[in-house]
């Protein structure tokens, strides 16, 4: 069975600084990987996805992620964060139709 590990439960960062949220998945023949964001008291919104092809994936709100098969990682990055990026971020892998989520990373952007 697939599993997803988000290596940091909380990431505090100052506004306009770069950020990386780390995600590792258990290896499989083929993987479909996703990053979702959850703002306080809201549902999950898709940031980006990797299905195949280019290993660098660009998403909404200036986020991007890099699929690294040898490292079984799918880290999320943003070169300059804003206060409005404060939220919970979830990495997920699609296994047979169900999303297997990581534990979540709370990104806290401070002024």
């Amino acid at each position: 069975a697939q599993s997803v590990t988000q290596l940091d439960s909380q990431v505090p960062v100052f506004e306009e600084a770069p950020v990386e949220l780390r995600c590792n998945y258990s290896s499989s023949v083929s993987v479909y990987l996703f990053w979702y964001v959850q703002y306080p008291n809201q549902g999950l919104q898709l940031l980006l996805k990797y299905l195949s092809g280019s290993t660098l994936v660009k998403g909404i709100n200036g986020f991007e992620a890099e699929f690294n098969k040898s490292q079984t990682s799918f880290h999320l990055r943003k070169p300059s964060v804003h206060i409005s990026d404060t939220a919970e971020y979830f990495c997920a892998v699609n296994q047979g139709g169900k999303l297997i989520f990581g534990q979540g990373t709370e990104l806290s952007v401070k002024p």
């Binding site: 996703f34 979702y36 979830f90 047979g96 169900k98 979540g104």
Partner: protein
């Protein structure tokens, strides 16, 4: 237009009661899901329906019964509510290709926060 909607948004009830949560999607998707998010924000799938047919049924107490009257609706009925059922329940939908490759992203509703007292 709301893509995936859930009602109610908040539900407060006492132990032992029976309650239902409704979900509707207007995206034309053929597959719908229920996920549970616990107090530590961990998300876990409960059920999935494809064209009104149950296709995923995780290890969930049989007090939970999903019902899909059509492919745009998936309701969740919970009998004999317990304190441990307190959580946020998310409905989601996606379009599964005919080949059955579940590559497409899932679209989530706003969630229903269930509090059992």
């Amino acid at each position: 237009d709301t893509a995936v909607s859930q009602t109610p948004k908040y539900l407060v009830t006492q132990m032992g009661n029976d309650k239902s949560i409704k979900c509707e999607q207007n995206l034309g998707h053929d597959t719908m899901y229920w996920y549970k998010q616990d107090s530590k924000k961990f998300l876990k799938i409960m059920f999935s329906y494809n064209n009104k047919e149950l296709i995923i049924n995780e290890t969930v107490p049989n007090r939970f019964s999903p019902k899909s009257p059509d492919k745009a609706h998936l309701n969740l009925h919970i009998n004999s509510l317990e304190l441990g059922d307190s959580a946020v329940y998310f409905c989601a939908s996606s379009q599964v290709r005919a080949s059955g490759i579940y590559a497409y992203e899932q679209y989530f509703g706003p969630g229903t926060r269930l509090t059992v007292t």
